[in-house]
């Protein structure tokens, strides 16, 4: 009887037999990593806009309040993308001839919307409501990141369901006093103390201060809270 296989086949065979289960487990784990990667979630991905609007300039440098443009953020589910009129309030005088603002003027003149690219896109079966988050003391910063430092706006967080749930299960760390909701610089540390205690704010102090109870995790992780 002649050998059918070369001796090297022993290693090949063993690696294939015992490697298969590892490959199987590995590919699942790999998949879960890839599906959380910024490539899939679009995290920190800068998107070109018809007009290169800079939050850094308007918020960080000029200090315009969020609500000047996003008018319905405190009352409605949607923060609201400002109508062209809002842009023109200032830009009729300022930078009135700038090339960059051409599409804005065109829009105003022709009564045609500026086709902005959506940056924060939630699936359509998710019913996110801005107003309740602000009312309960979750600041813009918690979801949108340091928007005052963004030239072109990008998505700062993954917006995955597990990311939503992380806060819905334990909202405490993301709460802030209601005066600081729109602040981009406020952090919960000793540099921004509770004037009453002189220490960093605690969650309980914030809830007391805001005079609004936070519903427990069971309630706000119920499916119909976000999906209808």
């Amino acid at each position: 009887m002649a050998q059918i296989f070369h001796s090297s086949m022993n290693s090949v065979a063993r690696i294939s037999v015992f490697g298969l289960p590892l490959l199987f487990v590995g590919s699942i784990l790999g998949g879960t990593i890839i599906y959380r990667s910024p490539y899939i979630t679009g995290e920190r991905e800068v998107i070109d806009q018809p007009v290169p609007f800079s939050h850094k300039h308007h918020v960080g440098e000029l200090g315009i309040d969020c609500r000047y443009c996003h008018t319905s953020v405190e009352t409605s589910a949607y923060a609201g993308i400002p109508p062209t009129k809002t842009c023109m309030n200032c830009h009729q005088q300022m930078w009135a001839g700038s090339d960059m603002l051409g599409p804005v003027r065109e829009s105003y003149k022709q009564d045609k919307s500026i086709p902005w690219e959506g940056v924060h896109n939630l699936p359509n079966y998710v019913y996110f409501n801005h107003s309740i988050h602000l009312a309960k003391g979750v600041g813009c910063y918690s979801c949108h990141g340091e928007i005052d430092k963004m030239n072109l706006t990008f998505q700062d967080k993954s917006l995955l369901m597990e990311w939503c749930l992380k806060c819905h299960r334990n909202p405490g760390p993301n709460l802030r006093p209601k005066e600081e909701i729109f602040s981009m610089t406020w952090r919960r540390d000793k540099d921004h103390p509770n004037p009453k205690t002189g220490e960093a704010w605690t969650t309980d102090e914030i809830i007391d201060h805001n005079k609004l109870k936070i519903r427990d995790a069971i309630q706000i992780t119920s499916c119909s809270t976000c999906h209808r």
């Binding site: 065979a13 037999v17 998949g31 369901m161």
Partner: protein, 476 residues
């Protein structure tokens, strides 16, 4: 590889068995080598394949093609192409799923339970019964997948670390099903493959061409027949048989939980698990006979699959047929005795409602017809036995049909409806036959359909065998 000693015959080692008094497990005058020649040469294609193989394979393959068409259309359009509707949200897909998985159970039962019970007659039929199991489970497995509204999301049924932080709901019998069926399939394949390792080694050494040697050599994993290996091997095989036995019971119990855990009248019954398991064995043995009777004729395997084997299978069918019939009686009795309007009302609907014919059809197929098998002459008649087996398969299909059709008339009379399959239901169902026979015919062609190792062990000592005495673990 059966274990222990055939104590019921009182044979000690070295004592020739009372061949006259015993039914024949192996006919003819075989030696160790002739067993390899008669069985192995089929798989290595040294012996030509009969014309019937080509006919069955071609027919099977054609039906498999139809399955592909049906599935493509299903995935394009949605489950609405089937006859399901709102009171009857489960239709053919679940009927077929339960039916196929029930058929599969006979293979495991023959391999595992009969091994544990020291039944010598399992040896000749266990290999292809196991193959039947695997292909039947494959056919069964496609149905739960296809019947989902959004089958592309089937992976949500597995607990993998997903980014929406949602998990399967482990109280649902369907979540259990996922684990039961996938475990069952995996363990069946493992069991089958472990049994095949020494036979692949035989084929490696006996096949004429280099490519066959290479393939079988790889499949045999370099099996050499060392006594150390044999000892471990037999232990593993025995334990696999040991765990397969509760596995079979658990799998069909869990399949029955799909019904029994619900609150549908006549589904919500404690009798369902045993009733389903027995029914599975009944239909499985019928399928074994449907496969064995032609195969042994076409491949001239009468020496290995003897009349005794066939007779044993027929007796099992008769016994299990009576047991399922008891189940039918018990269901009706309990419904009446419970004094529940819903249970009894639904029973009446089942027997005399619009689908009453299917209930009586099932009584005829599963209770009346198998009574023929009391008569030994008819048990021994291949044609009668083959026909009874086919009838039993139909009957067991109707059993599941009757169960699913219960949905048409349950609690709220205003919501009562009807159910009828569409052409696409049939195409999918028949298509799985194509899938089954395609795979089975390929198995017959390329894999030894009877375990040569175990047959040789079963040979009398004078022919080099061990009288069927196994070697799992000797005395210390």
């Amino acid at each position: 590889m059966s274990t222990g000693v055939l104590e019921q015959h009182g044979d000690g080692p070295g004592v020739a068995p009372h061949v006259e008094a015993m039914p024949l497990a192996i006919g003819g005058n075989h030696s160790l080598g002739s067993v390899v020649d008669s069985i192995g040469d089929i798989a290595t294609c040294v012996k030509p394949h009969p014309r019937e193989w080509y006919i069955v394979f071609a027919a099977g393959f054609a039906m498999f093609g139809m399955f592909a068409v049906a599935v493509t259309y299903l995935l394009t359009m949605g489950t609405g192409i089937w006859g399901i509707n709102v009171p009857t949200a489960w239709g053919f897909a679940i009927i077929n799923f339960v039916w196929w998985i029930g058929i599969g159970h006979a293979g495991t039962l023959i391999s595992a339970i009969l091994l544990l019970l020291h039944q010598r007659w399992r040896t000749s039929i266990n290999r292809f019964a196991e193959a039947m199991t695997i292909f039947a489970v494959m056919c069964a497995g496609v149905f739960p997948l296809l019947h989902m509204g959004r089958p592309w999301l089937a992976y949500w049924l597995f607990p993998f670390p997903n980014n929406f932080a949602m998990w399967p709901q482990f109280r649902s019998p369907l979540a259990w099903d996922v684990f039961a069926v996938s475990t069952y399939f995996t363990v069946s394949v493992v069991f089958w493959y472990v049994g095949l390792i020494p036979d692949f080694a035989v084929l490696r050494d006996s096949s004429p061409t280099k490519i066959q040697k290479w393939i079988y050599g790889m499949l045999s994993m370099g099996w050499r027949g060392s006594a150390y290996h044999w000892r471990r091997y037999e232990k593993v095989y025995l334990i696999l048989a040991g765990i397969s036995t509760p596995l079979v019971f658990s799998v069909h119990s869990i399949v029955s939980f799909d019904f029994a855990v619900s609150i549908v009248p006549l589904w919500h019954a404690t009798i369902f698990p045993p009733f389903f398991v027995i029914g599975a064995i009944f239909s499985g043995f019928a399928m074994v006979l449907v496969l064995a009777i032609p195969l042994r004729k076409w491949y001239h395997l009468e020496d290995f699959i003897t009349d005794w084997h066939i007779d044993c299978c027929a007796k099992v069918m008769l016994a299990t047929g009576m047991m399922v019939s008891y189940g039918y009686f018990s269901e009706v009795w309990m419904a009446w005795y419970s004094h529940s309007e819903y249970e009894w009302g639904t029973s009446k609907q089942r027997m005399f409602g619009p689908y009453g014919w299917s209930f009586w059809c099932l009584i005829f197929c599963n209770f009346v017809v198998p009574q023929i098998l009391w008569v030994k002459k008819w048990r021994m008649n291949s044609i009668v036995l083959f026909s009874v087996s086919i009838v039993a398969l139909i009957g067991m299909w109707f059993e599941r049909y009757v169960i699913v059709i219960t949905l048409t008339r349950e609690y709220i009379p205003a919501a009562w409806g009807r159910y009828a399959p569409t052409i696409w239901d049939w195409a999918t169902f028949i298509g799985t036959f194509g899938m089954f026979f395609t795979f089975f015919m390929l198995f017959v062609r390329y894999v030894p359909m009877i375990s040569m190792t175990e047959i040789r062990e079963l040979l009398p000592k004078k022919s080099g065998g061990r009288d069927g005495h196994a070697s799992a673990e000797g005395p210390p």
